[in-house]
Assembly symmetry: C2
Homo-oligomer: 185 residues x 2
């Protein structure tokens, strides 16, 4: 898909997951897209845990994910993004591991969309339970989790249609200033 199309069609679709198997080749393409993101001073502090084991997914859903994320138990794959903050920059109290992981995660979400797969970034997670379930070391922080699956519908476009029609985004005039804070064009 064309890049601007993919950016436009990416949506969070946890209610549209199919249990259908996702090919390893596609999972690796998505992880490779994440790997190619930039990061401040090339820290590459991102780490991913790909969960395909059904029992582990059930543990995550029952113990770590919030109730409104229980629908992702259908997903054949859950990807967890995390990082060790000390592998990355902190500048004036800004912990750049959160920034850098997100650059990689956005690449991942777009690559999945391009491949016709469904994602839904989730932050509503009990970090302690998640780290216990996946044996993540104390010093590593959870950042975000997403299911990865084929859409329940025939195509990504069909699956995303309703959600995209309800998308709410601020107007550019609320988000963008010109030459100085608060200045409109």
């Amino acid at each position: 898909m064309e890049t601007l199309d993919t950016i436009n069609k990416r949506a969070s679709l946890k209610t549209r997951l199919s249990p259908r198997h996702v090919e390893q080749e596609k999972i690796e393409k998505i992880l490779d897209a994440a790997r190619l993101a930039p990061s401040a001073r090339n820290s590459q502090s991102w780490r991913f845990i790909v969960v395909k084991d059904k029992e582990t997914i059930e543990t995550l859903v029952s113990k770590a994910f919030s109730e409104r994320n229980a629908v992702v138990s259908e997903a054949p794959v859950i990807i967890i993004a995390c990082a060790n903050p000390s592998d990355d920059l902190t500048i004036g109290g800004r912990e750049y591991y959160l920034f850098n992981v997100a650059l990689a995660v956005e690449n991942m979400l777009l690559a999945a969309t391009d491949l016709g797969l469904v994602t839904h970034p989730m932050t509503g997670v009990d970090e302690d339970e998640l780290k216990k379930a996946l044996r993540i070391p104390d010093e590593v922080r959870f950042v975000v989790a997403t299911p990865l699956s084929y859409p329940a519908e025939g195509s990504y476009e069909e699956a995303a249609q309703e959600r995209l029609s309800q998308r709410t985004r601020k107007d550019l005039r609320e988000l963008v200033y010109w030459n100085a804070w608060g200045r409109s064009l």
Copy 2:
């Protein structure tokens, strides 16, 4: 450009900037791509300041940007991404404004690449001086800045070629675990 191609060809190219005018329409396409990113609880805490005023760019370069970023004085446009942390989630000490702004920034970098334009995310910035120059309120934090320009060379591909050939990224095996931390496939 195809999405996976764009992800693969995006590079940080501050030494390849042309002073050539960048059309307003292209700048707005790039900002619109940023606007369409997801954010935790749809916070959309990202704010962008687009600097086209030559004198303001000179002030940023001489006062706020680190010396190794002085080359961006050539750029006709500098985009600053910032956010008010209190407009966004903090979960277990993780300040998600940094995460959410980065999702939008990655869309912006990819949209620019797709349009044949050059970017280079920079974090080496004196935040106080930058905020003074752009009259950014105290409570708003600087996250990242990037020049936006046409490539000095005839095409994006020519401009990026050398940099891409020298790209260093960790192997997927260092970055990805399967079903639990530390487990390989």
